[in-house]
Structures are given as structure tokens and as C-alpha cells.
Symmetry: C2
């Protein structure tokens, strides 16, 4: 059996009781170690907690070395641990398909991930649109396809969850070119850097998917003891010192009801200003209601 087990957001004890029971009976335990990190537990602490050796699985192992992960899993139990929930990233779907093709049974033990725990900021999950990822810009590489997605979401009043880039086990271009297996220290994007990149692209595209005055919520260390929320405009959050990783951001859509707003105000520096910013931004794509597009009468 291959167990895909979500570890939740932060503590070693965020694993479910059922997940822990499964880990304890596995002969090999892998920890996916490139799409996220567990904030409050090291590999050693996990090993002690499980009473098992934990093998760190980098992207290469998961994407190219899945035969090794799945080895003997038709006769033994193998655990593949994922921070958050196992179905956040495409490559794990791929691992399941490979297991099924090899005749290996798969069981998933779900857990919280940023995709649902983001509700802790007070905004209803029902009103989120598509999620986007913000990568570290370089001088020559500034991908901005996410800009249209924010626009699409906001045009119909929806919030946008922005996942911030993390770089774990990355090589410098020089080391890569020389074939040296030397890795850079891990990097985690901050809220301010994310907001600066948002502002940079809006300045370039000028299509007003959002403005510097669009309200947003900064979410830091979600699910950990030092979890922090901060409400402010994108311009304000570009100056915000968010502290230790991990971070994510929600760009508000129009659909923010009084009870949700009341919750967000708790995290604002200047409550009245934030209330005004939200109210102004709600007028942004007016007239508010979605206008039915012209129909293509070509189907059914």
C-alpha cells in the first residue's frame, strides 16, 4: 500500500491520528521536500515523533525516481508525506497514477492546507476564484500570466489567493553550468516582495486588474503559534515587515460582506481607512453585476 499522508500546516502533531498510525506501520517513509516546508518541525523531530527514518524527497526523486518510492509497495506499506494536503501539487497526482498502473493500492489521508485554512482570515472560501503563484522575478524573467487571472477573479467579485514562491535546493546558474552539486540557501518570498512585484506588473500592464489601493490580507505562518494576519492595501503591504516564512496573500474581490469585513478590520492598522479602501475598491469594476457576454449559439 502507498499511503499519501497530509501533514497539515505547522506542528509535527498536526498529522491526523489515522495518519500517524499509518506512518508507524510503514517500512519506508518519504517526506516531499520541495513544494513546501513544515514550519515548526525539523526532520529529526519528525523521525523521533514517528519512530522512523524519514527520507527527504526532492523534486528529482519524485518526478524521475518514483520507481524507487514505489519499490515493493505492492507487498509493503510505504508512506509519502506531504506538507498540507497531498493533492495540492500535480506531481503527486502523477505518483498515484504510476502506483495504480503498477497495481499498487493507494490510500490518501487528507489534512488541512493553505487552500482551505486560508478561511482563517475571515473571508468565506466560497468566494475565492482561481489561485495564483507568484515566482521570484529576475532581471530578465518576470512572468505575469497570473495578472489576467486576478482580473478574471476580480471582475466577477472573487478573492484571489496568491501562493508565494519558495526555493529549496536550488543551484546557482554558475554551479549548474559547472555541474557542481552546491545548493543555495533556501529562499521564501516575503509579502512586501510579492506586493512590489504586483505593483511593478500593474505599472507595466496598466489594465487595472487591481490598483495600489486595492485591499489585501497578508497571511503569515498560517496554522503556527505565531500566525499573523495583516489587512492593508497592496501599496501599504509592499512596506510591511512580515517576519519569518511562510507567507501568502489574499487580494480582495468585491464579495466581502459586513461580517467578513468586521473580521478583517481586526487586522488593520487604521480601521476606518481600510473600511474606506474596501468600499472604494468594491466600486472598481462597475456596474457591479456581471454582464452576460454575447452567446455563441453553436452548441446544444
Amino acid at each position: 500500500m502507498l499511503y499519501l499522508i497530509g501533514l497539515g500546516l505547522s506542528y509535527k502533531s498536526d498529522i491526523t491520528v489515522r495518519g500517524l498510525e499509518a506512518v508507524k506501520q510503514c517500512s519506508r517513509v518519504y517526506l516531499e521536500h520541495y513544494t513546501s516546508i513544515l514550519m515548526a518541525a525539523s526532520q529529526e523531530e519528525l523521525e523521533q515523533f514517528y519512530g522512523k527514518t524519514v527520507i527527504l524527497a526532492d523534486r528529482e526523486l519524485v518526478e524521475s525516481g518514483s520507481d524507487e518510492i514505489l519499490r515493493d509497495a505492492d507487498r509493503e506499506d510505504v508512506a509519502f508525506l506531504v506538507v498540507g494536503d497531498p493533492f495540492g501539487a500535480t506531481t503527486h497526482t502523477d505518483l498515484v497514477l504510476r502506483a495504480k498502473k503498477a497495481g499498487i493500492a493507494v490510500e490518501t489521508i487528507h489534512n488541512a492546507s493553505v487552500m482551505n485554512a486560508v478561511g482563517a482570515c475571515g473571508l468565506q472560501l466560497y468566494n475565492f476564484g482561481q489561485t495564483i503563484s507568484m515566482v521570484f522575478f529576475t532581471d530578465s524573467w518576470k512572468p505575469d500570466s497570473w495578472y489576467d487571472k486576478i482580473w478574471e477573479n476580480r471582475k466577477i467579485g472573487l478573492h484571489t489567493l496568491v501562493l508565494l514562491d519558495i526555493k529549496v535546493k536550488e543551484q546557482s546558474i554558475e554551479n549548474m553550468a559547472r555541474g557542481r552539486l552546491i545548493y543555495e540557501p533556501p529562499r521564501y518570498m516575503s509579502i512586501s516582495q510579492c506586493c512590489e512585484q504586483l505593483l511593478e506588473i500593474e505599472e507595466k500592464r496598466h489594465d487595472q486588474a487591481y490598483t495600489p489601493d486595492t485591499p489585501a490580507v497578508a497571511i503569515s505562518r498560517l496554522g503556527s503559534a505565531s500566525q499573523t494576519f495583516k489587512s492593508g492595501t497592496i501599496r501599504e503591504l509592499a512596506e510591511y515587515d512580515c517576519g519569518e516564512p511562510l507567507h501568502s496573500l489574499v487580494i480582495l474581490g468585491r464579495q466581502c460582506h459586513e461580517l467578513e469585513l468586521e473580521y478583517l478590520l481586526e487586522f488593520a492598522e487604521d480601521r476606518e481607512k481600510f473600511r474606506t479602501d474596501v468600499s472604494k475598491d468594491q466600486q472598481f469594476f462597475k456596474p457591479a453585476p456581471w454582464v452576460p457576454p454575447q452567446q455563441d449559439a453553436d452548441e446544444d
Copy 2:
């Protein structure tokens, strides 16, 4: 301290290790009992597992009787258990606000909910739009504001998660009128009823937010031992016998990549037909790319 603790989807052991530790130290333990149910554990089993009395909290107690829930929570630990994750429903946000106003510390222990575990069907969570709820229609009450939301989602290529109505502790109109506290047996909407209602409203509105041939995925008993997925068109799923509750449905958007489709094909009765249905439906809102709407140059 007020602990808001997610129970996850199905088993009593789906609670996290940290959540269980918190429950064990609480002097009162409430279980929210009207927005969802835990599929594989009864109240008695939970009480035995926790070593605590579990008080069932209906809508009335949570919305009007929160003083009782919060009683002495500034000096004692009180647990409020929620199936899935605590931040799925608005009323729990309200409970947190009330606690904060009363000077009571609040800690949330997150867990999986259908909002993220739905990724187990193989579709990427990134590409889901707003979530809708489908309520039981009556002869005189057929709310269909969700129809526009499906359209908005599908117009920009996104999938729509449909949460199906459950009725727990409902009174008949007659008993309500006579003030008799007699409750109807619980009811859980089936996939086929949901799909019939979808077809009924499309027939009435005829705006082609979807057609009877639009592909969807039926999700039954997510996270439980008898979890089942079924891929088919809305018309096909209107005939599908989905078995015991709970159920939900995903209506596909255009953004379905080859790896995701491969996953969905595993759940289709006729793989080639489903592949063709998806491909036809992907042409539905053409031209495919979103056309930028006219700008209102009235802000910023």
C-alpha cells in the same frame, strides 16, 4: 481558551494529534451538528474516543446560544468541534468574533475539508472558481442564483464545486406551525437529484451556462473507506446511483490538462466517450481566451 477544532472528513481518528490533545484537556466539548456530519463515527464513538461527553450543537445553539458555548471560556478550555475545517461556514466566524469581544482567547486547529480534499478527484485546486450550494427544491421554491456563478466560473475556464444540501433536525411546516418539536429524519441530497435540478434550471434559463453534455465528477463519501468517484456528463449522472451520503459534484471548466483528464478517465464508464465529451465541452465558450471587458476609466 476556545478551541475551534476541525474533525476532518470521516473517521474519528481523522482528528489531528494536536486536536485530540486539546479536546482531552477541555471541560466542555461541543460538536457542530447542522452543516455536516462525520460519516464513520457516531456521537457515542466520539465520546469513547475522547473520554469526554460530547454536546451536540444545533444551529439554534450556535447562532443564538453562543453565550452558553462561551461560558467561562476565559478561565476554562472549551472545544467547539466542526466536521471538516472550522472556517467553512460563516456562523463560526461569528462565534470567534463574539469570543474575542468577550476577551476569550481563540485557537484554531485546522483539518481537511471538502474544499481542499476535493483535489482527490484529480483536478487541480488552482483551477476551481467560486463554490456553490445546491438546496432541495420544493414545488414553490427553486432558488437558482448559483446558475450565474457556474456561468462566471466556466466562462473563464474554471471548475465549480457544488455542495449538496443536507437537512438535519428540520421540522415539517405543519409541526413548525403547531409548535411541535418533532423533527424529520435527516435528508442528504443525492448526485442524481442535484443533476436533475441542474438540468431543470438550464431548461428554464436556457443561457447555456452548461448543457446536459457538460462533463462532471460525482464525489461520494470523500475521505471514507467507501469513497467513490464517477466521471460522466450531467445527463448521465442524473441517472447515477451514488449510494450512501455524503456527496458533492464538480462541474468541469475548460482548464483540464492531459494529466488531470487521465485521472478522471479512471472513473468513467466509457473512457472514449468521456474524453470526447470533455473535448467538446472545452470548445463550449469559444473563442477560448477571455476577452477583456471594456474598461471603466473611473478609478486610480
